[in-house]
C-alpha cells in the first residue's frame, strides 16, 4: 500500500478531531430539552443590600431578648444548633459591639457604646461584599458573586477546604465538622440540609427572592430593624434611609466593600 507522510497526517488529524468532538456532540444531544428561565415572580435588583438598625434592634433585645431573625433564619434554612462553639454553624447571629466593629473605638463612640448601647448585641451576617475575599480564594468556584451582588455558596461544589473561612474577615462562614442533621430542630422540608464537610453561610435568601419573597430574617423582624433592598436604585426604601441616616459598615478599611450597613 502506497501511503505518504501527507496522507497519514490527514487521516491522523481527522481522527483526532473526531475523537475530540465526539463527547461534545453526544453531550449536546443529551442536554436538557427544555429551557430554564427566571421565575416571573422573582424579586430582582441591580445590587442587593441590607441595613441593620441597632437602635430598634436593641430595644427588642433588652425588652424580650429578641432573636426572632435568628430563629426565622435557622428554621427556614435548616441551620443546626450545636452546643459546642467548635461545631457552631452561623448564618445570622449576635455578637458584641467590640467584636462587630473593632477599630471604631473613638473616645466619644466609646461613651455612646458604654452608656447608650451598653450590652447591646449586634446582629451580624454575611456582608455580601462587593470585593469578597472568600470568592477570590475558593479553588473550585463553589462560592461566587452573582450579578445582583449576592455572594452565593454552591454546596454541590464545595470541597470543604475552608480557604473561604480563613479569608472572610467577618467569620461569616461555618464548616459542618460533623453531620448537621441530628442537630436540626424544626425541619423545613422545602429546603435542603447540608452534609458533613461543606461550608455554609447566609445567601440573602436567594431561593426566597427567586419566588418573590423577601429574606426570612427581614420578614420576621417585628421592629422593622432590618431593611432589605436595591442599593443601586436611588428611589428604593434602603437608599432613602442611607440618604437620611448616618450608617457604618464592618471593617471598611479592609477594602471588601460590605453591603450590610449599620445604624448605631
Amino acid at each position: 500500500m502506497d501511503r505518504d507522510r501527507r496522507d497519514f497526517l490527514k487521516v491522523a488529524g481527522l481522527s483526532a478531531l473526531a475523537i475530540g468532538a465526539a463527547p461534545h456532540l453526544a453531550c449536546a444531544a443529551d442536554d436538557m430539552p427544555g429551557e430554564a428561565i427566571p421565575s416571573p415572580k422573582a424579586l430582582t435588583a441591580k445590587r442587593w443590600g441590607m441595613i441593620v438598625d441597632i437602635r430598634k434592634c436593641s430595644k427588642a433585645t433588652s425588652e424580650r431578648k429578641c432573636v426572632d431573625c435568628v430563629v426565622a433564619c435557622n428554621n427556614t434554612h435548616n441551620v443546626p444548633s450545636f452546643d459546642s462553639k467548635q461545631h457552631e454553624v452561623k448564618w445570622i447571629w449576635q455578637t458584641g459591639l467590640e467584636n462587630a466593629f473593632p477599630g471604631e473605638e473613638n473616645r466619644f463612640l466609646d461613651e455612646y457604646i458604654t452608656d447608650t448601647l451598653k450590652g447591646t448585641p449586634i446582629m451580624v451576617l454575611c456582608n455580601h461584599c462587593d470585593n469578597p475575599p472568600c470568592v477570590r480564594v475558593c479553588p473550585v468556584q463553589a462560592t461566587f458573586r452573582r450579578s445582583d451582588g449576592i455572594v452565593m455558596q454552591d454546596q454541590h461544589r464545595c470541597i470543604g477546604c475552608r480557604f473561604c473561612m480563613a479569608a472572610c474577615p467577618y467569620g461569616a462562614r461555618s464548616l459542618n465538622w460533623v453531620d448537621p442533621r441530628p442537630k436540626i430542630g424544626q425541619v423545613n422540608k422545602e429546603y435542603p440540609t447540608r452534609t458533613r464537610g461543606v461550608v455554609e453561610k447566609c445567601t440573602f435568601c436567594f431561593s426566597r427572592l427567586s419566588v418573590g419573597v423577601i429574606p426570612a430574617c427581614v420578614e420576621s423582624c417585628k421592629e422593622k430593624a432590618l431593611i432589605f433592598g436595591d442599593v443601586d436604585d436611588p428611589n428604593s426604601e434602603i437608599r432613602q434611609i442611607l440618604r437620611t441616616q448616618p450608617t457604618i459598615r464592618r471593617k471598611p478599611h479592609l477594602g471588601t466593600r460590605p453591603q450590610v450597613y449599620y445604624i448605631l
Binding site: G34, A36, S81, T95, P121, M152, H156, R181, P182, G185
Partner: protein
C-alpha cells in the same frame, strides 16, 4: 510450554467466570412505584429514564448558579419549579420504591439525599424530630459575647 498453556486457560476461565457464570441467570428488573396518578413527567419517559441525572445536574446549575428557577418543558410547554425536593418528590413520593430500587439494581449511589430531604422519611428516620423552641444562642443569658468571636 504445556504448563504455560494450562496456566493461561485456568486464568481465562477464572477471569471470565462472572460472564459465563451468570449466563441464563435472569435477575428480575426492579418494579418501580411512583405513588402518583400523574401520567407524564417533565419530559418524555424514555428521556427521563436515560438522562434524568443530566437533567437534574442542569437544573442544579441553573438554579444555584444562574438564578433561573423555572423549567419550560419541551414536551408540553408547561412551567415547572426546578427543584428535586419540591417538584420531583411531589410525584415520586416513594423514594425507597422508586429512586432507591433502581439505583440499587444498577449499583450506583448518588449523594443527593445527603442534603436533600426525603419527603416521607424526613432527615432522621430513626428518631422523631425534636421541636426547637428557642435559638440556642451562645450569647443568650449574658447578653453580649466577649469571647473574641468576630
Amino acid at each position: 510450554m504445556p504448563s504455560i498453556v494450562a496456566g493461561v486457560i485456568i486464568f481465562l476461565v477464572l477471569f471470565t467466570y462472572p460472564f459465563w457464570g451468570n449466563l441464563g441467570n435472569k435477575t428480575a428488573a426492579p418494579v418501580l412505584v411512583t405513588g402518583t396518578t400523574e401520567k407524564q413527567c417533565v419530559e418524555k419517559t424514555e428521556f427521563m429514564k436515560t438522562s434524568h441525572m443530566k437533567l437534574l445536574d442542569e437544573w442544579r446549575d441553573a438554579v444555584v448558579r444562574d438564578g433561573k428557577r423555572v423549567y419550560v418543558s419541551k414536551l408540553n410547554g408547561k412551567h415547572y419549579d426546578m427543584s428535586l425536593q419540591n417538584t420531583c418528590t411531589k410525584c415520586h413520593i416513594k423514594k425507597d420504591q422508586f429512586c432507591d430500587r433502581c439505583h440499587t439494581y444498577v449499583n450506583v449511589s448518588p449523594n443527593c439525599w445527603a442534603c436533600h430531604i426525603d419527603p416521607v422519611q424526613g432527615i432522621n428516620p430513626q428518631t422523631p424530630p425534636q421541636q426547637q423552641t428557642a435559638y440556642n444562642a451562645h450569647t443568650q443569658g449574658e447578653g453580649v459575647a466577649t469571647d473574641g468571636s468576630r
